[in-house]
Symmetry: D2
Subunit: 186 residues, 4 copies
C-alpha cells in the first residue's frame, strides 16, 4: 500500500488547498496518508547554527524520505507560492542527503479567482527543480472559483475537475509502481 | 533628505545580503535609513481573522508606506527567494491600500556561488509585480563568490561591484526625485 | 503628440492580440501610431556576421528608438510568449546602444482561455528586464475568452476590460509626460 | 540501440551549444543520433490555415515522436531561451497528438558568461511543461565561460563538466530503459 505525504501551502484550517489535498488523497484510493503541517519557524541560519534544526523540520524531512510520493497543494499569494511553502522547502534543503531526490511529487492548486493558481504552480515547479524530484506534469489541476467548487462534505462538485484529479492520481500511482520496480541506481 | 527602508531576505546577522544592503545605503549617501527585520510570524489566515495582523506587520507596512524608496536584498535559496522574504510580501499584501504602489524599489543579491543570485532576482521581480512598485532594473547587481567580496569593515572590495551599486543608487536617487516632483495622480 | 509603436506577438492578421493592440491605441487617444510587424528572419549569428542585420530589424529598432512609448501585446503559446516575439527581442538586442533603455513600455494579452495569458505576461516581463525598459505594471490587462470580447468593429465589449485598458493607457500617458519633462541623465 | 534526437536553440554553425550537444551525444555512448536544425519559418496561424504546416515541421515532429529521447541545448539570449527554440516549440504544439508526451528530455546550456545559462534553463523547463515531457533535472549542466571550455576537436576540457554531462547521460539512458520496460498505459 502506497505511503503518501501531503503538504499544503496554506496554514488556514478551512483552506481550499487543504480540501483539494484531501480530495486528491480520497481519489487516489487506498493508501497510507499523513499531512505534515508546514507551521515551521522561519529559516534562520544563526538559529540553525546555535540550536540545530527544529524537531518539526526533522520530522517533515523523515516523513518525506520514507514516503512513496508527495502531494503538494498551493494557494496563490500575489501570483506566487506562499512564503509558508517556500520556507518549508528552504528548511528541507538543509537536511543532509536531499531527502526527496527522485521522489514522485505532484502539484495541484486552487484559488478564488479565474486562473486556479496557474502562475503559482509554475513558480512551484521552478522551486522544486533543485531537489531533483520527479514532478508529474499532466494533467494540470488548477481549481478556479474555488469557493464554489466544494460541497458540504468538502468534495469536489465538478465532474471535469474530479476527472482531472483522478487522472493525475492514476499517473502518480503508476509512477510509484515504476519507482518500486526500478529504484534509481547510484 | 531621502527616507529609505531596507529589507533583507536573510535573518542571519552576518548575512552577505545584509552587508550588501548596508553597502548600498552607504553608497547611496546621505539619507534617513532603517532596516526592518523580516522576522514575522508565518502568514496564517485563521490567525489574521482571530487576532488581526501582528504589530510587526503593521510597523513594516507603515515604514514602507512612509519611505521614499525601498531597497531589497535577497539570498538565493534553492534558486529562489527565501521563504522569509516571500512571507513578508504575503503579509504586506494583506494591509489595506497597497502601501508601496508606485514606490521606487531596487533589488540586489549576493550568493556564495558563481551566479550571484540572478535566478532568485528574477523570481523577486515576479513577486513584486502584483504590488505595482517601480522596480529599478539597471544596472543588475548580482554579487558572486560573496565570501570573498567584503573587507573587514564589510565594505565591498571590487571596484566593478562598487561602481555598479553606485550607479544603481544614483538611479534610485533620480527616481525618488522624479517621484517627489510629480507624485502619481489618481 | 505622443509617438507610439505597437508590437504584436502574433503574425495572424485577425489575431485577438492585434485587435487588443488597436483598442489600446484607440483608448489612448490622439497619438502618432505605427505597428511594426514582427515578421523577421530567425536570428542567426552566422547570417548576422555575413550579411549584417536585415533592414527590417534596423527599421524596427529605429522605430522603437524614436518612439515615446511601446505597446506590446502577446498571445500565449504553450504558457509562454510566442517565438515570434522572442525572436524580435533577440534581434533588437543586437542593435548597438540598447534602443529602448528607459523607454515606457506596456504589456497586454488576450487568449481564448480563462487566464487571459497571465503566465505569458510574466514571461514577457522577464524577457524585457535585460533591456532596462520601464514596464508599466498596473492595471494588469489579461483578456480571457477573447473570442467573445470583441464586437464587429473589433472594439472591446466589456466595460470592465475597457476601463482597465483606459486606466493603463492613462498611466502610460503620464509616464511619457514624466519622461519628457525629465529625460534620464547619464 | 537508443534513438536520440538533438535540438539546438542556436542556428550558428559553430555555436557552443551545438558543440555541447555533440559532446552530450558522444558521452552518451552508442546511439542512433540525428540533430534536427530548427531553421523553421516563424509560426503564423494564417500561413498554417492556408498552406498547412511546413514539411520541416512535420519532419521535426516525426523525428521527435519516433525518438527514445530528446536532448535540447539552449543559448541564453537576454536571460531567456532563443526565439528560434521557442518558435520550434510553438510549431511542435500544432502537430496533433502531442508528439513528445512522456518522452525523456534533457536540457543543457552553455554561455560565454559566468552563469552558464541557468536562467534560460529555467525558462526552458517552464516552456516544456505544457508538453508533459519527462525533463531530467539532475545534474544541472550549465557551461560557463564557454569560449574556454572546448578543445580543438570541440571536446569539453574540464573534468568537472565532462563528469556532469556523463552523469546526466547515464540518467537519460536509465530513463529510456525504464520507459521501454514500462510504456505509459492510457
Amino acid at each position: 500500500m502506497s505511503n503518501i505525504v501531503g503538504l499544503c501551502g496554506s496554514l488556514r484550517k478551512g483552506s481550499f488547498n487543504r480540501k483539494l489535498l484531501n480530495e486528491a488523497v480520497r481519489l487516489y484510493g487506498r493508501c497510507d496518508y499523513a499531512e505534515i503541517l508546514l507551521d515551521l519557524p522561519l529559516y534562520n541560519g544563526d538559529r540553525e547554527t546555535e540550536q540545530g534544526r527544529p524537531k518539526e523540520v526533522e520530522d517533515l524531512a523523515a516523513a518525506i524520505k520514507s514516503a512513496d510520493a508527495v502531494i503538494v497543494t498551493s494557494p496563490e499569494y500575489n501570483k506566487g507560492i506562499s512564503g509558508v511553502l517556500k520556507n518549508a522547502l528552504d528548511w528541507i534543503s538543509r537536511v543532509p542527503g536531499n531527502v526527496w531526490k527522485d521522489k514522485p511529487v505532484t502539484i495541484l492548486s486552487a484559488t478564488g479567482g479565474r486562473t486556479g493558481g496557474e502562475t503559482a504552480q509554475y513558480m512551484l515547479r521552478h522551486c522544486l527543480t533543485p531537489f531533483g524530484v520527479r514532478v508529474l506534469t499532466s494533467p494540470v489541476v488548477c481549481i478556479a472559483s474555488a469557493s464554489e467548487q466544494f460541497d458540504q462534505n468538502d468534495h469536489l462538485l465538478s465532474d471535469r475537475y474530479i476527472s482531472s484529479v483522478e487522472k493525475l492520481m492514476h499517473n502518480l500511482a503508476q509512477e510509484i509502481e515504476l519507482k518500486q520496480l526500478h529504484p534509481a541506481k547510484e
